[in-house]
Subunit: 387 residues, 2 copies
C-alpha cells in the first residue's frame, strides 16, 4: 500500500425529495449563483422550476446558463466565466449530469484566474481557488458530483482533456434517485459503464497489498452489476436507482484510490473517440476496456483471476488460470452487451479509418496508463482489438 | 435505503513516516495546542519527542496533558478544559488511541461551553462548536480518528456515555501503520474486535435494500479478518498493519451507515461492563456480540445467513438455513477465540453476580438497539448467554 491523503468534504445530501433542500444548501455557499444546466430536459421535467423556487425562497439570486452538451465545450465555459464576472456571481449551482458539473468546475476555476482557463487542462497552470460549487445530480455516471475531476473538450482541434485537483470538489451534492426514473435505457446503461470503468481503472494497479481497497472496489462493482438490469427492467425502482446513484459517487470520489495507483489508459484512449466522434463516454469505455484487458491481462494474471473470481463469481480453474482470467474479461463484455451497450467500434458507430490518428493523439503527451505504459503501438493494438 | 447526509471532511494523512507532517498539519488548525496523550508509552517509544520536534519546527506552541486512561474519565477532561482556557489554547492535538481522542473531543467541546461538559453526554445540551482537533493515531480500534463519536466515563456513578455529532470530527488524522508494530498481541486483537463490532453494529439493520453498504461492510470485515492473524504472527508486517489501520477508520467514519440504521445495543451493554469492571472495550464486545446474535438471529434469519455466507464463506444450507446462520455466529466466536480474545464473561474476568444491575443500567434511558429493542429482560438474557 502506498502513502496517501484522503478526505471527502463534499456534503452528500441523498434521498427522496432532497432537491427541495437546494436553496438552503446553496445559501451556505453563496448569494448570487450561476445556475448551470444542459438540455431543456431539466426544464420540461419541472426540476429547474423546483430548483429556482427553492433558491428564491432562500433569498439566493440566480443567473441561468443552459446549453451544456455531452463532452462539454470550452467555448461555453468561457461564456460562463464572462457571465460570472459581469454579474458578480459568487457561487455556481450545476443541475444535470457529469458534463454540466465538469463545465461548472471549469467555470469555477476560470473566474478567479487571469489567464486562459484551458491552461489548467493542458497542465500549463494549476488552480488554487474556485467559486464554490453545488450540484443537483440527474445522471449517475461521471461521479463528478463528489470528485476532483473535470473533463472539457476544446473544439479548436477537438482536444478532450482532464483536470484532477482537490480544489474543484463540489461543496455539496444533492442526489435524489427519483430524478433518474426518466433516464432513457441507453443513458442508464452508458452511465453504468462509466461508473464501472472508474472502478476498473483503479482496480488494475501494480501496487501490491491493497486488500481493503480491492474489496471495496469489488463491492461497488458487484452492486452496480446487480442493480442495473433491475433499473432497466423497472425504471422507477427506487432501490435499484438509489444503489446505482450512491455507487456512482463512491466509484469516483477517490476512496477506491487510497493507497494505490490506478491505470487510466482506457479513459485516455476513449477521450479520443469522444473528441473526434462525440460518442457517449460510457459507451466508448464499454468498447475500449475489454480490448485493453485482452492486451494487458498477461501482465498480472493473478489480478485478472481475482477479478474473474471475486467480481463475476467464476470458479477458478487452478490448473489453467488463464482460462479464468479470459472468462472474466468475456463476462464483462457480455454483461455490457446484455444491457444494450456497444462493445465494438462498429457497434459504437465509429469507422476504423482514423484509428491510427486516434492512437497517436491518445499518447500525444507521452505513454498513458500505469498498469502497462501504452505507447502508440499498444494504443493502436487496443483499437484494433476493439474493431 | 433511507435518506442520509454524508461527508468525511477529516483529512487522513496515511502511511510511512507521516507523523513527521504533524507540525505542518497542526499549524493549519492552530498555533497554541493542548498536546493530549495517555500513558508514558508514547514518550518511551520516542513518538512524543518526534511530535514535539515537528510542532516546534512549525512554530506551534504546546502544553502537555498526559494520563488519559482506557475508558477515559470526565475528571481529566475537566482538567483539560481548565488548561485550555487558562493558557488560551486554540487547538488540540491527540496522540494515542481512541481513549485519548475521545477525551480530546470532550475537551474540545467543553472549552467554548459555559455549562458542564457532561451535559453533552447525557443529552441535556448539544455542542455547536469545538476547538479544532488533530490526531496522531497509535492504536487502530475505536475509529475515533475520523468519527463523530466520543465516549467518556463519569467516575461519579461509573457511567459511560457516548456523544455522536458531526461537529466533533477531527480536522486531520495522521495514520502511520509503523506506529502499531509494537502493539501488544492483546491490544491488537481487542482493537480488531472493536473495528469488527463497529461494522457488525451497522450490518444488522431493519432497513432493506442496502445492497452497496452491505457489501462495503462485508469487504471491510473480510479485510480485518484476513489481516489480523498475519499482524499477530508478524507484528512488523507493514501491509497487514496498514490494512487494519485503514479499515479501522472506514469502519467508523459513517460511510458504512449511509442509508441504514445500525443497532448499537451491544455497545450499550458493553459500556456497562467497562464502566463497572474497566475491561478493554474490544474484549467486552467480543463477549457480548455472539450472545446478542444468539438472542436475535431469528428476527431476520436471511440477514444472518448472508453474514455467514458472504463474510465467512460458509456454504449455505438451503434446506435448513438456520444451520447456516448459527454456523456464522459460531465462526465469529471461534475467530475471536483464535486471536486470543475472551468470549465469555468468565474469560473476561467479570463475575456474574452483578449482571442484573448491568442489565438495568444498560437500559436506564429506555430500550437500546434498533434491530430488536432490548429491554432489561433481553439485556439480562444476553449477559446470561455470555456467561
Amino acid at each position: 500500500m502506498e502513502n496517501f491523503r484522503f478526505s471527502m468534504p463534499t456534503e452528500v445530501i441523498f434521498g427522496k425529495g432532497t432537491e427541495k433542500e437546494v436553496g438552503a444548501a446553496t445559501k451556505r455557499i453563496g448569494t448570487r449563483v450561476l445556475l448551470h444546466y444542459g438540455s431543456e430536459r431539466v426544464r420540461k421535467s419541472g426540476l429547474l422550476d423546483a430548483v429556482i423556487r427553492s433558491l428564491k425562497e432562500a433569498g439566493v439570486v440566480h443567473v441561468e446558463l443552459g446549453g451544456v452538451q455531452p463532452n462539454p465545450r470550452l467555448a461555453l465555459v468561457k461564456e460562463g466565466i464572462r457571465i460570472c464576472r459581469e454579474k458578480k456571481l459568487d457561487a455556481i449551482l450545476a443541475v444535470g449530469g457529469g458534463s454540466v458539473i465538469d463545465a461548472a468546475k471549469a467555470v469555477g476555476v476560470g473566474v478567479p484566474y487571469s489567464g486562459d482557463v484551458w491552461d489548467f487542462y493542458t497542465g500549463k497552470a494549476k488552480p488554487t481557488t474556485m467559486l464554490p460549487l453545488g450540484v443537483v445530480l440527474t445522471i449517475p455516471a461521471a461521479g463528478s458530483e463528489a470528485s476532483q475531476s473535470s473533463v472539457i473538450t476544446n473544439d479548436e482541434g477537438s482536444y478532450k482533456r482532464a483536470l484532477d485537483i482537490e480544489v474543484i470538489r463540489p461543496r455539496f451534492a444533492i442526489l435524489n434517485p427519483e430524478l433518474t426514473f426518466t433516464l432513457p435505457t441507453y443513458q442508464t446503461a452508458a452511465g453504468a459503464a462509466d461508473i464501472m470503468s472508474h472502478i476498473i481503472e483503479r482496480y488494475f494497479t501494480n501496487v501490491d497489498h491493497v486488500d481493503l481497497t480491492d474489496r471495496l472496489c469489488e463491492a461497488t462493482l458487484k452492486t452496480v452489476i446487480h442493480n442495473v438490469p433491475i433499473a432497466l427492467a423497472e425504471p422507477s425502482n427506487y432501490h435499484a436507482r438509489a444503489e446505482i446513484m450512491w455507487a456512482g459517487a463512491i466509484a469516483h470520489n477517490d476512496l477506491l484510490s487510497t493507497g494505490r495507483v490506478g491505470d487510466w489508459a482506457t479513459h485516455m484512449i476513449e477521450h479520443e473517440l469522444s473528441a473526434l466522434y462525440d460518442v457517449t463516454h460510457g459507451a466508448g469505455l464499454a468498447v475500449v476496456f475489454p480490448a485493453w484487458m485482452q492486451l494487458t491481462y498477461r501482465h498480472d494474471l493473478k489480478r485478472f483471476v481475482q477479478f474473474a473470481v471475486r467480481v463475476w463469481g467464476i470458479e477458478e480453474d487452478f490448473a489453467e488460470p488463464e482460462r479464468t482470467a479470459l472468462e472474466g474479461i468475456a463476462r464483462l463484455k457480455a454483461y455490457w452487451k446484455s444491457i444494450g451497450l456497444p462493445v465494438t467500434l462498429g457497434e459504437l458507430g465509429v469507422p476504423t479509418d482514423r484509428i491510427e490518428e486516434m492512437a497517436e493523439r491518445a499518447v500525444s503527451y507521452g505513454p498513458v496508463g500505469h498498469f502497462i505504459p501504452i505507447k502508440k503501438r499498444e494504443a493502436l493494438e487496443i483499437l484494433k482489438l476493439a474493431s
